[in-house]
Subunit: 66 residues, 2 copies
Amino acid sequence: MKNNIRVERAIKNLTQEELANKVSVSRQTINAMEANKYVPSTVLALKIAKVFNKPVEAIFLLEKSD
Amino acid sequence: MKNNIRVERAIKNLTQEELANKVSVSRQTINAMEANKYVPSTVLALKIAKVFNKPVEAIFLLEKSD
DNA sequence: ACAAAATGTAAAAAATACTTGACATTAAGT
DNA sequence: ACTTAATGTCAAGTATTTTTTACATTTTGT
């Protein structure tokens, strides 16, 4: 699974830490997600999508391998 | 987090097992999700939304407790 | 009423998400 | 060049998701 968090974060001009605070996770969690180290839970995906005012599908993209 | 899987499944007339096969998880995973026993991964949420042709947000709903 | 299909549930194990803390590297501003 | 903010990364630990197996209950069709 791919994600556009870094891009969306740039658009909104947010640091990893600021985003982390907004969605109540650690900064490392955001960092690891951007580095595609793991797939977040749906709760977290919904919260992030909400911060960016976009549907989940616009930020998190399924790949063939999923 | 709430979800409308049972309703969407009824609309599409799918059994838990059929849905489970479509998204490559066990029947118990679908059952437990419907029973709100746990929150699925984003990959699973995306796949389920795709089966139902709806955005993730239409099927999985954040609650205050999230 | 009976049989078969669908659903509920539970426990143990495996896999993965997420935290905390700590330190190293890079980028930005003065 | 210096300082600070931002990001990268790692390791160990906790929490949660998901699988498997197995059996009980409910629903559906005949």
